[in-house]
């Protein structure tokens, strides 16, 4: 399954999700007022050291930042026009640092654990136990729908190609959508039939 999660266990994997998220929030808040680029650079070195300690796979994740390179360059260019290079370096370093810190949590925490860590927050926000259960099911369903949609479209495309030798035209989107909505209704019926009482959230046995 697609995930930003690193499958190999590391010491950071053992830290509870709630603790990691709290630490991330505090660190991010603490970073916002820091304007000294030397401090931020030291922080970045520290975070990169943690990545290196986690192994080669973790370091490879940094490459995922590549689409942001242009953006960083543009931000730096603007900052250099309007402010000193120290300010420019500080703002870029802070941005990279915050992104890498957050990715550190994502890499070492399973989605289920993140969901579990979210539950007390939702409880505080006034979500009932039933609606919390519903939400976690919906997240799983949404994530599962992604490969399903891709598979269904590919099957349709292959059938079209086999008969015409060309790619499925965009017109095929309409029946594809109809098929997809039918699938979603079938899953809803299947859940209903198995006693997933969405209105009451009562577990039937």
């Amino acid at each position: 399954m697609i995930s930003g999660y690193l499958a190999r266990g590391t010491p950071l994997h053992c830290v509870p999700a709630g603790a990691k998220l709290t630490a991330l929030a505090l660190l991010s808040l603490a970073l916002l007022p820091v304007d000294d680029w030397r401090l931020l650079a030291a922080g970045l070195c520290l975070v990169l050291a943690v990545y290196a300690a986690l192994g080669r796979e973790a370091l490879r994740r940094i490459a995922l930042l590549r689409p942001f390179l242009i953006l960083f360059a543009i931000i730096a260019a603007f900052q250099l026009l309007t402010a000193t290079w120290q300010d420019a370096a500080a703002s870029i370093l802070r941005l990279v640092l915050m992104i890498l810190l957050a990715d550190l949590v994502t890499m070492t925490t399973r989605m289920q654990d993140m969901m579990a860590a979210l539950m007390p927050v939702l409880k505080l926000l006034g979500f009932s136990a039933a609606s919390r259960k519903k939400l976690s099911l919906m997240v799983s369903l949404a994530v599962r729908f992604v490969p399903l949609l891709a598979e269904n479209w590919n099957a349709r495309d292959e059938a079209w190609r086999a008969r015409s030798g060309r790619r499925a035209p965009l017109r095929q989107v309409a029946p594809f959508l109809a098929e997809t909505l039918r699938t979603s209704d079938h899953i809803a019926e299947a859940l209903d039939a198995r006693g997933f009482a969405a209105n009451r959230g009562r577990r039937s046995k």
Binding site: L24, L71, V139, F145
Partner: protein, 181 residues
């Protein structure tokens, strides 16, 4: 909310995510904002599900992303996207879906589905999204009003194209009688 509504919301969150599998276009003129098919999913959710469920679908997608699923176009995910420079656009998905759905519902078949859906998607998917996304970007980049305007103009052709695509799908769905409006 019925089980069927839950599934529709999850499905459209999935559709937004699946559209992110199409490779994004990175134009230097767009100031680092990737042009993706993802916002098409957002306006589609608004048109097909209506304001409330459409916004919920967009919110569900963001929750899945926040929990670490790399579903944003270009394979990004996790909490870091909400502190990044394009955070305004990403968080803007929810109001964008809501406004699109609300406008589409409010019109109730006088202009014809295609025109209504296209206009609603243009306002929701382009105007609302940029009104939220560009100030955040400009704030992080210390941009002037004019530079921010240039970004908005660069994103306009894609925005129009995606709005028309929303209109076409809305029209096709109406023909099939599958719209869950």
């Amino acid at each position: 909310m019925s089980v069927r509504d839950m599934l529709l919301i999850a499905l459209f969150a999935g559709i937004i995510a699946a559209l992110g599998l199409l490779p994004p276009i990175n134009l230097p003129l767009a100031g680092g904002v990737p042009i993706t098919a993802q916002s098409l999913g957002v306006t589609l959710a608004g048109v097909m599900l209506g304001a409330q469920r459409g916004a919920l679908a967009a919110a569900l997608f963001l929750i899945a992303v926040a929990l670490g699923a790399p579903l944003l176009a270009g394979g990004r995910g996790g909490i870091s996207v909400f502190t990044g420079p394009t955070a305004g656009f990403i968080l803007g998905f929810v109001p964008a879906a809501f406004v699109t759905g609300w406008l589409f519902e409010a019109w109730s078949a006088r202009l014809g589905v295609f025109l209504e859906a296209t206009t609603a998607a243009l306002i929701g998917g382009y105007l609302v999204l940029n009104l939220l996304g560009i100030p955040v970007l400009a704030w992080i980049k210390n941009q002037t009003f004019r530079e921010a305007g240039a970004v908005a103009l660069t994103l306009l052709p894609g925005g129009v194209l995606k709005a028309v695509a929303t209109g076409v799908v809305g029209y096709l769905a109406e023909g099939l009688g599958t719209r869950r409006g």
